[in-house]
Symmetry: C2
Subunit: 342 residues, 2 copies
């Protein structure tokens, strides 16, 4: 018999629970669930993510071979403190939190040497939260970052790699600092940028008018401003310096773009920048990631911009842009086909 | 018989054409279409947005009572230059472009005094572009900004207000500078911020790894980096100073957030800021806009943060956050119900 404890039964924890049941990867599996929020635990049980619900984290882990901490980061640290003395010898403990360096420190501090902790971070999610939104296919095709401490036993590392694979994800090893630097760029920076942007516009005296006008652009760009504040807070306070570094870089990048767009003499470069960005973005959206993403893009912006002055020469510009754009449409169609095939 | 010319038959122009046919607001309507891109014009005709396609803008407008310029901004200006001498006396010309001050100047320059120009900007859109994505319901519930020059005849203004209403939108009068300042905040700033953010991360040496990890957050926050470069360019060069102003404000706002998150002594304020932002964002997403948006929000962040230190007191914090969050869940449920009813 195998017992798995899932502590924190939101979207991620419940999706893991559903998949464990569906794939039957462990013999005679029992999943015991705990969540600080009664309602969240009950929802997980209702959708079938956990078999049994307990109201004490120690009860959840005392017979567990595998313990999955899938609450927000600081709650995971608090959970470690609670379960340290109750863990079964040789249990493997992992987490799904958004930052890793501080979590590995907390694990060393609170967990006994009779168990092993292997950090984890499945790079998947969706807009909806909670067990009601859980899906056994949530992790399919996603990367699952595995962060073993330097002294981790091979058996325990393998257990988490196996778990990630059975979830349908692709395991990817990283050390904790590397992980935290990367997610600061791709996840935490977009979040704080959305928060800044939304607060700025929301704080404007003209907000009553602005909010009436705001169509799709603002909603999309600021969606992650709607991140659960407990999740956002835990991320920010456990990755302060990396996030601060990327905020500085974004401020520089915005400053450069501002200088470029204020100077009419720079318009040719500005157009090329916009065209190149759109191409790279389309390529990213189309799933060209990893090494493939570094290959040369077609240069649709390579037209003779020097003829672009308002008046007669515009016709020529139009013609050239037309050709570049029609090529672009063909590429887009091709990309869409590729995406469907994947 | 009424003839309407639609110059620029992309998503917006074609959606207008579809709605004109569906609502039969003009007797014996004929819609004549022109687009610089042959393929785009053909697509509009295929979906039934235009009745007849011509390959010269002058031919499109010569018998038209109403002329709708629905290409990107600079293309609309070029179109005005082309059609100026061919327009029928007393025709009403309008546009759907993203900026207004320069467009009104161009209209004064290129259009004869025998016609009137009334600026327009429907605040609607979707991710997909082109006539294939057109919908007669695209403008339902959206604001349609109407920007009449100071000397505009009442009859012409009424014609455009009537058009907006028949499209299912709510007309909203503004002057050109006010419009350009507002859209700089809610539309152009999110676009340039997305471009800066995407370029920054895409330009990182670690992009091959970053792109593998990037889940939803980056894609959402940077979606408008995929704006058609011709559209983006035209916006930026016709609204440079307003956009530059908002970029500066965003850089300041990011700098303040950075200072707050780097200082552990400020953690209580940081949590409150995140909680307040999430509440305001949820309210905005739930459709509380205009005057209603200024009403007091429930203060879910009002818990005793002073007890929040790692260790024993965390339990107390957890309990308090739990209560605030459960209240939040109830609010969200209520908001969802409201949204469905609208």
């Amino acid at each position: 018999m195998t017992q798995v404890a899932i502590l924190g039964t939101g979207l991620i924890g419940s999706s893991i629970g559903l998949r464990l049941h569906e794939k039957r990867i462990y013999p005679d599996l029992t999943v015991v669930g705990f969540d600080r929020y009664r309602r969240s635990g009950q929802a997980a049980q209702k959708v079938g993510a956990v078999d049994r619900l307990v109201n004490d984290p120690q009860l959840a882990v005392q017979d567990a071979d595998l313990v999955i901490l899938s609450a927000p980061v600081l709650s995971n640290h608090w959970l470690m403190e609670q379960i340290g003395s109750a863990l079964k010898p040789h249990a493997v403990v992992t987490d799904t939190g958004s930052t890793k360096a501080e979590t590995l420190r907390q694990a060393r501090k609170h967990l006994p040497t009779t168990v092993s902790f292997i950090g984890g971070h499945p790079m998947a999610g969706k807009i909806e939260v909670g067990a009601e939104a859980a899906e056994s296919t949530l992790f399919e095709g996603a990367r699952w970052v595995v962060v073993p401490p330097s002294d981790a036993p091979e058996r325990s590392v393998n257990a988490i790699v196996h778990l990630a694979e059975q979830m349908g994800a692709e395991p990817m090893f990283m050390d904790a600092d590397e992980h935290d630097a990367y997610v600061a760029a791709i996840s935490h920076l977009p979040m704080v940028a959305a928060i800044s942007l939304f607060r700025l516009v929301r704080g404007s005296e003209a907000w009553p008018e602005l909010s009436l006008l705001a169509a799709g652009g603002l909603k999309d760009s600021t969606r992650v401003a709607g991140t659960d504040p407990a999740v956002a807070y835990d991320i920010v306070v456990t990755n302060r310096e990396q996030i601060a570094h990327w905020i500085d870089r974004l401020r520089e990048s915005l400053g450069e773009l501002k200088d470029q767009l204020r100077d009419p003499a720079n318009d040719e470069n500005l157009f090329k920048l916009l065209a190149q960005t759109e191409l790279e973005y389309a390529s990213y959206r189309a799933g060209k990631v990893g090494r493939e993403s570094a290959t040369q893009l077609p240069d649709a912006a390579r037209f003779d911009f020097s003829s672009f002055i308002m008046g007669e020469a515009v016709k020529q510009k139009m013609h050239e842009i037309t050709n570049a754009q029609e090529e672009r449409v063909r590429e887009r169609d091709a990309e869409r086909r590729v995406r469907r095939e994947i």
